[in-house]
C-alpha cells in the first residue's frame, strides 16, 4: 500500500514535469503559428505597397504616353495644314505658312518629341504606337534604382508558403495541446488508468512535436533557408 502511494507520488512529479514541458512546447508552437501568420500578413502588406507603387507608376506613364501622343497628333495635323497653305499660289497664305512654320511649329515639335519624327512610333495601320512609348517610359523608370518596386507576385507567393506552413503547423500545435489535456487528465485519474492516459498523452505529444519540427524543416527548405 505504502509502495503504491510512493509510486503514485513519483508519477505525480513526472506528470507535473511533463505538463510543464508540454505547456512550454505548446506556447512555443502557438507563438510560431502566430508568427507565421504575421509574416504572411507582413508580406501581403509589402506586396500591396509594391502593387500600388507599380500601378501609380504605370498610370503616370500611360497618362504621359497619351499626353505625348496628343501633342504628336496636334503637331502633325497643324503641319499638314501648313503644308497645304505652302502649296497654295496665294502669296499671303504662303507667308502665313512660313510664319507658322518658323514660330509655331518648333514649339509643337518639341512637345511632340520623340513620337512625331520617328516612324517606329507608328503602327503599320498608321496609328500612333502609344504602347511602344509606354513600354519605353516603363523601361526608363525601371533603369532608375529603387524607383519601380518589385512585382508583388513574389511577396504574395512567399506569403502563401507561410500560410501553408501555418496551416500544417496548426495541426501539430493542436496535437501538442491535446496531449496537454491528456496529461492533465492523467494527473487527476487513479493509478492504473492514469498510466494508460499518461502514455496516450506522451504519444500524442511526441507525434505532435515530430510533426511540428518536420513541418518547420520542410518549409524552411521550401523557402530556401528563410525562417
Amino acid at each position: 500500500m505504502e509502495e503504491t502511494k510512493t509510486k503514485g507520488n513519483r508519477l505525480d512529479v513526472w506528470i507535473a514535469v511533463l505538463i510543464a514541458l508540454v505547456s512550454l512546447t505548446t506556447a512555443l508552437a502557438t507563438w510560431r503559428t502566430s508568427a507565421l501568420g504575421s509574416s504572411a500578413g507582413d508580406l501581403i502588406y509589402q506586396g500591396f505597397i509594391d502593387a500600388v507603387k507599380a500601378q501609380s507608376s504605370a498610370t503616370e506613364n500611360w497618362r504621359n504616353a497619351y499626353e505625348q501622343a496628343a501633342y504628336t497628333r496636334d503637331y502633325l495635323i497643324t503641319l499638314d495644314g501648313i503644308v497645304a497653305e505652302e502649296n497654295s499660289t496665294d502669296p499671303a497664305s504662303q507667308e502665313h505658312a512660313a510664319q507658322l512654320r518658323a514660330n509655331l511649329l518648333p514649339g509643337m515639335e518639341t512637345l511632340a518629341s520623340p513620337m512625331a519624327n520617328d516612324p517606329s512610333y507608328f503602327t503599320p495601320e498608321g496609328w500612333l504606337n502609344v504602347q511602344k512609348r509606354f513600354d519605353e517610359l516603363q523601361a526608363e523608370d525601371a533603369a532608375v534604382p529603387g524607383l519601380v518596386p518589385p512585382a508583388p507576385d513574389a511577396a504574395f507567393a512567399l506569403a502563401d508558403k507561410y500560410f501553408s506552413e501555418q496551416r500544417w503547423l496548426v495541426v501539430g500545435t493542436i496535437l501538442i495541446a491535446v496531449s496537454l489535456f491528456w496529461l492533465g487528465l492523467s494527473q487527476l485519474s487513479h493509478l492504473r488508468m492514469r498510466v494508460l492516459i499518461l502514455l496516450l498523452g506522451v504519444l500524442v505529444y511526441v507525434f505532435g512535436l515530430v510533426w511540428s519540427v518536420g513541418v518547420e524543416v520542410y518549409f524552411i527548405f521550401l523557402r530556401g533557408g528563410v525562417l
Partner: protein, 226 residues
C-alpha cells in the same frame, strides 16, 4: 444502480474518457478547419484588394486612351465638316462671281481637308474596321469600341467580385467554426463535470455532453458541405 455505484465509484468514467477523446479529436479538427478557413479568407481578401488596385490602373488607362481616341475622332470630324462648309461656301461665292472669296474659301477647304485627312489617318475609331467600318462617311461604332476598351477592366472586375465573394464566404465559415469551437468547449466543460461528479450525475452530464457534441458535429458537417 445505487448499489453498483456505491461499489464502483468509477462507473461511466470510461465512457466519459472516450467521449472526451472524441470531443478532443473533433475540437482539434474544427480548430484546423477554422485556421484553414481563416487563411483562405485572408488570401481571398488579398486577391480582392490586389484586383481593386489593378482596376484603378485599368480605369486610368482606359480614360487616357478613350480621351485620346475620341478627341482624335472629334478633330477629324470637325475638320472634315469645316472643309465641307468652306467648299460649299466657295461655290456660293462663285455663283455671285466673287473670285477672290471663292479662291480664299477653296484654299481654306484644302487646309481643313489636309488637317482632316491627317486626323482620320490617326483615328483608330475611323480607320479600324472593327469600329470605323473603314470609312469616314459613317459614324464610328462607339459601342464596339467601348466594349473592347473596357473588356480587360471588366474581366478584372469580375475576378475582384469573385475574390470578394470568396472572402465573405470563407470569413463567414471561419466565424462559424469559432462558434462550433465554443459549443465543443461547452461539451468539454460538461465532460469535465461528469468526470468529477458521482456516477448517477456522471451519466446525466455525459448525455448532455453527447447532445452538445452532436450539435457541434452536425454544425461542422453543414459547414463542410455548404
Amino acid at each position: 444502480m445505487n448499489q453498483s455505484a456505491q461499489t464502483n465509484p468509477d462507473r461511466w468514467k470510461s465512457l466519459v474518457l472516450v467521449l472526451t477523446l472524441v470531443n478532443t479529436v473533433l475540437m482539434a479538427s474544427v480548430s484546423a478547419l477554422q485556421v484553414d478557413a481563416n487563411i483562405r479568407a485572408n488570401q481571398a481578401n488579398r486577391d480582392a484588394q490586389y484586383y481593386a488596385v489593378q482596376i484603378t490602373g485599368g480605369l486610368a488607362y482606359t480614360g487616357a486612351r478613350g480621351d485620346f481616341d475620341t478627341n482624335t475622332y472629334a478633330i477629324s470630324v470637325t475638320n472634315t465638316l469645316e472643309s465641307l462648309v468652306a467648299g460649299y461656301t466657295a461655290l456660293l461665292r462663285q455663283e455671285v462671281n466673287d473670285t477672290q472669296g471663292y479662291d480664299a474659301l477653296k484654299l481654306e477647304e484644302q487646309i481643313y481637308q489636309a488637317r482632316a485627312d491627317r486626323a482620320t489617318s490617326l483615328s483608330v475609331l475611323q480607320t479600324n474596321p472593327a469600329y470605323g467600318h473603314g470609312t469616314t462617311q459613317t459614324a464610328a461604332d462607339f459601342t464596339a469600341y467601348f466594349d473592347e476598351l473596357f473588356a480587360p477592366t471588366r474581366e478584372i472586375l469580375q475576378k475582384q467580385n469573385n475574390a470578394s465573394d470568396a472572402y465573405h464566404h470563407w470569413n463567414s465559415k471561419s466565424d462559424s467554426y469559432v462558434a462550433v469551437l465554443t459549443v465543443l468547449a461547452v461539451a468539454f466543460f460538461l465532460l469535465g463535470v461528469a468526470q468529477m461528479t458521482r456516477p448517477g450525475l456522471r451519466l446525466l452530464f455525459s448525455i448532455f455532453a453527447v447532445v452538445v457534441l452532436g450539435i457541434g458535429s452536425l454544425w461542422t458537417l453543414i459547414l463542410l458541405v455548404f
